[in-house]
């Protein structure tokens, strides 16, 4: 019997007043906190008699340590960092400056180099970074300002008063598998905040609660996502230069799936490579972790990695939907930042600089709210205007229709992309519509039994233990760890659908799309199809793919007990 996590009811919770609570200590949240501290310090210098305090500004971060759950390629466009901390390059952990870039189209055995690098993928002036180390550094800057970062505490619920967000409830600690309080039980805190800022990363769980409560997405395109599955390798010297950037399109994907790979040369012969698979593929048997394994088998990649060693693994979803998929980002008591809002440029595969910029703009708005002592939508709505008049919109507007153009495959996508490039992002019309990714998934009955052209992408990877790995071996290298004795944090609203319908109609795609082997169909003779859904929540790497890709939309990812999750280092 599966018991799912939910806040314990009928208990008294400690109440704590706060000025600003930022949920999520990633690049957006940390930039927001840092900018807010800068503004308050400047204010306090100028106004000795009306001092503002930073004591009641908090960042909640579910990871045990700052940056531990952050994963990206990653290339940093320094534009926003130059605004936030001019001269940051001198002290930030930067692995290399991009010196060389190339884009290839792969077929099964060959590669074709694009004669010129398409403008969005020109990365001169950008930096190769490890996002988790970068955020760790940024977090230390935040802590030095006197703002408290509560690591190991997740935002588990939003608190409301009518149409106003009034605070955040943190996770209950010390709850056992059956949902009972253990001897170390500690109820979550109710942080009663004037301003709540959601910076949870893609598919944030509180953001999801907020969007659904106020139907915020009603005028936006449905958000579409990809999942990036990443490995870090140590390779023999001379294979790739630090600062060399390679993008590939094509193999192992067919023309029907959206996605591509990155290979970044970092310092000390470390290579970051990963494959982003659009979560709008048709065949439920497709496995994004398998896609990465197949990609590595391509002679071009295999040669690069030969004799090397895989040292880290991880996965994270990313929002592709672009400008039209962004919901309102400010309201009564709340603002949404970064990937939670959808500030990601899918043509450039970059969102860190936008996340940081959005955090800075939200900080300016929050600062005014504190000065005016008004955090209603009248004041916070200013964040919406700031985003629209900043270079965030300027950058995203040009690619507003990019991903929608690929909904009908690669060839149509390339046509639309070319057209959009010469029309300032417009293409055939100002706003291309979109369908949510899971709606593209097709039932097994409508697909070739052998998988057809996609057969090499379907089902679990076996792995040779050298170049390719089965999922559990990969997963081991994520370092993920959770308290085992706690309710499942993958909340399935109706497991009957899993056991009766999904197993027949889609063949339980959760087993395939989850890059961490959380979902498993186990034998159970008492079930109509002889299979029953079983969960291994402690394997979870917090990528949110299940919440996004499940064709019935019955999975809700909620944060597990704070402190649990992957242990990314150098990712």
């Amino acid at each position: 019997m599966l018991i799912f996590r939910k806040p314990i009811e009928g208990i008294e919770r400690p109440q704590m007043p706060a000025d600003v609570v930022i949920v999520g200590g990633g690049p957006a949240g940390m930039a927001c906190a840092l900018r807010l501290a800068q503004l308050i310090d400047a204010h306090n210098n100028e106004h000795p008699d009306s001092q503002l305090s930073k004591e009641n500004i908090y960042v909640l971060e579910k990871a045990r340590e700052i940056g531990q759950h952050c994963l990206s390629g990653a290339l940093l466009d320094p534009r926003s960092m130059n605004e936030l901390l001019p001269g940051f390059e001198k002290e930030a952990p930067i692995d290399a400056k991009v010196e060389k870039e190339s884009v290839y189209f792969l077929t099964e055995k060959s590669k074709f180099k694009f004669p010129i690098t398409p403008p969005p993928l020109r990365d001169h002036g950008n930096y190769v970074i490890s996002l988790n180390r970068f955020v760790k550094w940024l977090g230390s800057k935040v802590e030095a300002t006197g703002i408290t970062v509560f690591t190991g505490f997740a935002g588990s619920e939003l608190l409301f008063d009518g149409d106003r967000v009034t605070g955040v409830r943190t996770d209950d600690k010390g709850v056992d598998k059956e949902g009972h309080q253990k001897s170390n039980f500690e109820p979550g805190y109710d942080l009663q905040a004037k301003v709540v800022i959601l910076a949870e990363g893609p598919r944030g769980s509180l953001t999801k609660q907020l969007i659904s409560k106020f139907d915020l997405a009603k005028d936006a395109n449905p958000q579409t996502y990809g999942v990036g599955v990443k490995e870090l390798w140590e390779v023999p010297a001379g294979r790739i230069a630090a600062g060399e950037v390679i993008y590939t399109l094509g193999w192992p994907l067919t023309t029907k799936e959206y996605g591509g790979a990155w290979i970044y040369g970092s310092k000390d012969n470390v290579v970051s490579l990963g494959f982003v698979t659009g979560l709008d593929y048709a065949d439920p048997r497709l496995d994004p972790q398998r896609v990465l394994q197949e990609f590595k088998k391509h002679p071009f990649v295999a040669k690069l990695l030969e004799g090397g060693k895989m040292i880290r693994y991880g996965a994270k979803s990313m929002p592709y939907g672009g400008w039209w998929a962004i919901p309102p980002v400010a309201g009564n008591g709340w603002m949404i930042l970064g990937d939670s809002a959808g500030f990601l440029n899918s043509a450039r595969l970059k969102g860190i600089h936008l996340a940081i910029k959005s955090g800075m703009l939200a900080a300016e708005t929050a600062y005014h709210a504190l000065i005016k002592n008004d955090s209603s939508s009248a004041t916070l709505g200013d964040f919406q205007k700031k985003v629209e008049s900043s270079w965030i919109k300027e950058e995203l507007w040009k690619v507003r229709n990019l991903h929608q153009g690929f909904e009908h495959g690669m060839y149509a996508g390339m046509f639309h992309t070319a057209l959009q490039m010469v029309t300032g992002g417009r293409g055939l019309r100002n706003r291309y519509p979109a369908k949510a990714g899971y709606e593209h998934m097709r039932k097994l009955a409508d697909l070739p039994a052998d998988g057809g052209a996609e057969s090499h992408l379907l089902g679990a990877a076996k792995g040779d233990g050298k170049l390719t790995f089965d999922k559990l071996t990969d997963l081991y290298h994520s370092g993920t760890k959770h308290e085992e004795d706690q309710p499942a944090h993958l909340v399935i609203h109706d497991t009957n659908i899993c056991n009766t319908r999904c197993v027949k109609e889609f063949g339980s795609p959760c087993q395939n799309f989850c890059p961490a082997n959380v979902y498993e169909m186990v034998d159970d003779a008492s079930q109509p199809n002889g299979k029953r859904i079983s969960l291994n929540p402690s394997n979870c790497v917090h990528c949110k793919t299940c919440d996004i890709a499940d064709p019935y939309q019955i999975i809700t990812w909620v944060p597990p007990e704070g402190g649990g999750g992957p242990n990314y280092d150098g990712m």
């Binding site: 071996t473 760890k481 085992e484």
Partner: protein, 331 residues
Amino acid sequence: MPDTILVIVEQREGKLNRVSWETITAGQAVAAATGWTLEAAVVGSGAASIVAEVAAKKVAKVYAVESPKLEPYTPDAFAAGLKQFLAAKQPKLVLMPHTYQVRDFVPKLATAMGRTVISDCIGFKHEGGKLVFTRQMFQGKLAADVSFTSDAPWFATFQNGAFRGDKTEAGASAAPVETVNVEIADGVIRNKPQEVFKEAKQAVDLTQAEIIVSVGRGIKEQKNIEIAKQLADALGGDLAASRPICDSGWLPMDRQIGSSGQTVAPKLYLALGISGAIQHIVGMKGSRTIIAVNKDSEAPIFEIADYAIVGNLFDIVPPLIEEVKKAKAGG
């Protein structure tokens, strides 16, 4: 008359809970800061030796609070008895160690007296005539200063380790002892204590085991674990498992081997129906000899096994048990 601080010493069946010394040290420190008088109380009968031990410390007085109804311990009796005692003595501040027993009865006691408790404190401050207690929040990331706004008596409990139990000051001479009998009416005690439950200390310490028989998913059903147990018994070894078995509740968690369980290195590790995911391997790869039984010849466990048996464990294990028994009988 100056205000008094009363420390309630914890004893159970004539045994002192050593953390009480820390609370007396805390009481002495508060007394030194405030100039208040420190007294102590030992609750329950048959604690004469504890009373004497406490009286030897630097306290003004020790009360032995007694009633036949205080034995055995029940939260109802403690709350009722102490309420009566405190109402009569009117201390300003009541200090207790933050033990399980105190956590059990003190909310009831404080509520019955219309007071609140500042619990699990790690220290105190006496600033400008105001007594402030420090508590941890957010798992120790923040320290909050809390003070009482209500009338006395004030209740506070101190966290284990907040003060030094070995630094309790001894008194110049033994403090006077007063026995106070409290009346606890019939019907007050609604709790019926059962025999004190002691969690069975796991007899098995897998890290010390010389022979381990470990089962994985290949065992199929909970009832089949019995044959692995028989093999372990025949060999004189211990039973262990991979994560899915413990996760299903078929064996207790402390028998789990692997990255989220124990790490073992026995002389012999017999893996039955374990595929050998890296998460399991890291917990047992140091074993001197590994024998693996699995029907999948490509199972990764075979890469580290010294002896590989490809086959159905249900065909292999029963005759193996018989052979082990025979060999042992013959030897």
